[in-house]
């Protein structure tokens, strides 16, 4: 017996079969249940763990179809359109799912129908049924109104109106229904009768293309896994090539014989369909995984799916960079991104602001899009650089000291440097249009010490504080 707190009252949220026979039901307050059955054993509900378990079951179901959606707190919807024949037909597929789950110790109810609403209703009232297309309306007619899984008030209203079965509800005029219960209820009713469709909201991004390989005997060696990935990549490439597309994101899913599953994704900067490139990127990814791929008793199914594709068109020749070079660079970027993460390999882009630390953006090179902004030099030709080569991202406070002889010193990181030259100030105001109260404006100075090091300092605030912002070459 599982109990959970609903509307500030402890109510039963899951009930054992024996208890059901004794008249307990989900939703009953715990106090009432205790009154009828004092010897009740109660466990507190643990919803996060339930969800985790359901996720694992959904992962396991992925082997039948990539389109698995959650349905309420303890249901799963599988869209098996076009997948059933791979498992010997609809009835065989349903039986296999139900029996496998039962063998793993779950209580299962399942049914198959043309729409999600109908399938849900049959799962509750006709466990194990496969309803042929077009027969939903007559099969569902004798089921009670509760099978529609409407909200409590609507179901109650139907019952009070004397409409006890779905068939009776369906026999009423739609206009009456819409006026009384709204268009949403009528849409659900239509779907229950097998008309209209409701899109599933899948758990995972829907794969656009996929290829998979089943193994009669689970495989565990690295060579076989690699060879399989390569052959799957080749199969996928031929599909992509026909469509003139290339993949930006590929996902390999490894189904372990004991039900565990591992997904490994790679991303590419440009649409790719070269099997050799794909295999290489996967190999790098598998080599550098912090948590290596554990074959356990072996994998019995490997699937390669393309979840993001883009049109791959022939590149227009460029004058200064040949196509080959571009492809080489993007392959290098992909490899480095696969190994270190795409946020670690960066390209620079200009940014339209005069704030020194924000004047450029370091964007992941894989996703860098060409911008219309141009790089603009601040210095005049012939002048020395006006911006330092190395810029500190954290505040580096410095103190300026004047000795008795009038020479100035600069103290930074506990070391004193004599000031030999100083140029400035260059005043940079903060952007008042971005901030409610803009930070104080900064006066920048270029300072050279006795050894020739050139610092970029600024003074800001009242009383003025000095900071080192960067160092020139």
């Amino acid at each position: 017996m599982v109990v959970a707190k609903v509307d500030n009252a402890l109510r039963l949220s899951a009930v054992e079969r024996k208890a059901t026979a004794l008249g307990l039901a989900i939703g009953q307050p715990l106090a009432n249940a205790r009154a009828t059955l004092p010897a009740l054993k109660v466990v507190a509900a643990n919803e996060p763990d339930d969800l985790k378990l359901l996720t694992r079951i959904a992962d396991w179901c992925d082997r039948f179809t990539p389109h698995v959606a959650f349905d309420g707190p303890r249901g799963l919807l599988l869209d098996v359109t076009g997948a059933a024949h791979l498992f010997g037909g609809e009835q065989a597929l349903l039986n296999r799912i139900r029996e496998s789950l039962k063998a793993q110790g779950f209580a299962v109810r399942g049914a198959m129908a043309g729409t999600a609403v109908a399938a849900r209703a049959f799962a509750r009232y006709r466990d194990g049924a496969v309803i042929a297309p077009g027969e939903e309306a007559e099969t569902i007619a004798p089921l009670p109104v509760a099978a529609l899984n409407l909200d409590h008030i609507t179901t109650h209203a139907f019952r009070r109106a004397g409409l006890k079965t779905v068939g009776q509800v369906a026999s009423r005029k739609r206009t009456e229904m819409t006026a009384r219960f709204g268009a949403g209820m009528v849409a659900i009713l239509d779907q229950a009768l097998g008309h209209g469709t409701q899109p599933l909201s899948p758990r995972l991004p829907r794969a656009l293309y996929w290829k998979e390989q089943n193994f009669a005997e689970p495989i565990a060696t690295e060579e076989v896994i690699r060879a399989t990935l390569k052959s799957l990549a080749a199969a996928l490439a031929s599909v992509l090539e026909k469509r003139g597309e290339g993949a930006r994101r590929l996902e390999a899913v490894f189904f372990r014989a004991d039900g565990a599953l591992r997904r490994i994704a790679i991303e590419m900067g440009v649409p790719t369909r070269e099997p050799a490139v794909i295999e290489r990127l996967f190999r790098e990814k598998l080599e550098t995984l912090a948590d290596p791929l554990d074959p356990g008793f072996g994998f019995d199914l490997i699937r390669l799916s393309a979840s993001r594709v883009e049109r791959a068109q022939g590149e227009v020749a460029d004058f200064d960079v040949s196509i080959n070079e571009k492809a080489d660079i993007s392959f290098l970027v992909d490899r480095l991104a696969t190994r270190f993460g795409s946020q670690r390999i960066l390209a620079f882009q200009p940014n339209d602001t005069h704030i020194p630390e924000a004047a450029w953006l370091a964007v992941p090179a894989q996703y860098a899009q060409p911008t219309k902004l141009m790089w603009k030099k601040i210095r005049e030709p012939g002048d020395a650089p006006r911006r330092p080569l190395r810029l500190f991202t954290r505040l580096e406070p410095v103190t300026l000291l004047a000795t008795a002889s009038g020479a100035q010193h600069l103290r930074w990181r506990k070391v004193q440097h004599a000031v030999a030259h100083c140029e400035g100030p260059e005043r940079i105001a903060m952007e008042w249009w971005r901030h409610e109260t803009p930070p104080p404006e900064r006066d920048y100075f270029r300072v050279e010490d006795g050894e020739g090091r050139r610092y970029w300092l600024y003074r800001a605030g009242v009383p003025p504080q000095w900071f080192l912002h960067g160092i020139f070459a």
């Binding site: 450029w360 790089w375 012939g382 080569l389």
Partner: protein, 251 residues
Amino acid sequence: MRMEKIAALRASLARPGLAEASIRIPLGHAAADLCLKGGLERGVLHEVFAAIGHEAAATGFTAGLAARVAARKRLLWIRQDYSALEFGELSATGFLEFGIDPARLLLLCVADAADALRATNDALSCAALGAVVIEIPGRPKILDLMASRRLTLACVQKTVTAFLLRFNAEPEASTAETRWLVRAAPSPPQAENWGHPVFEAGLIRNRHGRTGEWVMEWSCDDGLFKEADRGAVVSAPCDRPAAAARQAASR
């Protein structure tokens, strides 16, 4: 028979890899170029050591060398997270002002030296890159003679040039073609405004030539090194008879 042999020899000499690998890129500084027999060799490993406290100057010097060698190709700069915190993050506007187009730069951030070396091996096999700069602070154990030999071999296979930029480190045995020790050069005391970046660059090792020490100015507009025209600082010439005699004795 003899003609055939000559033709075969000619063909072997005309192999594209061989011709490209031996290209030397002049730096622009006449004395240094003379010492380097025409310029910095492409497709090999070079080392630049920063004098303590002169990390930014060494960064600029290496950026200049890499930009020269890479010509119009892209540059990959591999830096460690620690290096950005300690010595400052590389600034795109800084590179722009320095005379290097930031659009040519790729920045790879890695956690440690082992990752940096692994990434370098990947990068050196990509012929589309012009140069790879690897910034390594301190003296990681992994960077030994074996690692530098591996880098040299990886360079030789292709035409990518590698620059090992070392901060807070002492030179040790390596297979680098050249090794530089760089510090910033002070401006003359009476200067009105300071000019382009000036370096005191010491060529402390050169596998195929003499060593020397020069004061070089990086011309941000032309993208090459020049003699610094300042009277106060005199460069130590490498081609004086005494210096040559000393080097001959030490050899």
